[in-house]
Symmetry: C2
Subunit: 145 residues, 2 copies
Amino acid sequence: MRPESEVFREFLIHKGMRSTPEREEILAEVFAHHDHFDVEELIMRLRRRGLRISRASVYRTLALLVESGMVGEVYIEDGHMHYEHIYGHEHHCHLRCLGCRKLIEFRNGSLKEMEKRIGQENDFEIIGHKLEIYGYCAACRGEES
Amino acid sequence: MRPESEVFREFLIHKGMRSTPEREEILAEVFAHHDHFDVEELIMRLRRRGLRISRASVYRTLALLVESGMVGEVYIEDGHMHYEHIYGHEHHCHLRCLGCRKLIEFRNGSLKEMEKRIGQENDFEIIGHKLEIYGYCAACRGEES
DNA sequence: GTGTCTGCAAACAGTTTGCACTTCT
DNA sequence: AGAAGTGCAAACTGTTTGCAGACAC
């Protein structure tokens, strides 16, 4: 698999845009942890590494990363967007606990054939999907009693 | 099936809240059309019926309807939330065209058994799910050429 | 009558944008 | 040199909130 930085740089060049230190650092930080994150966290993490990249640049770069398909917008919580990196990671869906708001990832191969069928039935070329299942985790079910 | 107004009134009473003309009108308008809607549209529709219900009351009532489970938050587009009524309507999923942004609804029974399996595997009590499949509709595929 | 609800306007938060300056090529 | 990017602060937008008067029960 080609390194993220290379893929992103190519995406930028293809759009007639430049690779800059800020963009590289943001990209690196996004792929440094496998966790969902929001803009505030990302900026904090950059700060911790001694980088003073402006909020505006973070927003602008994140938009590019989403456009390139390397990063995904996952959900809005507490009024702001949460992201995850996608490039190089197997597709997964989310299980959301309505009690503690915890999010669990799970692999899910069985949607493939359903996608195919849905695509044919609706004359749609299917690119991908986003599935969130919600309910209550074991711990939260325990508390109820 | 019991009428929406009755179900909502009961929900309110259960919470120690009151049934008011504003809440009843908003509820009625939400269930008057089978389309996704946003706050602006809802207010417009109320206005058209000669009702001057404040934006604040619409937001507050919508939050209650979502809490009651009668209305669902569907997706964010153009920076604001879009809703749909749920009560009395069969569950469905969404097919989103990435070209024209059109949203198609489709029924989808086959997720039931998958839900069951996922629930067992993750020790989760599953309440529901939200599935959005995205791709390109026939018209938008045609244009590409 | 009392406690909730409404409408208003102000507050708020996340995000976007205009602009002067910097940086990359 | 010239185009594109950055940081800053102000602007913007959807949503929430505090409060005074109105209303449901």
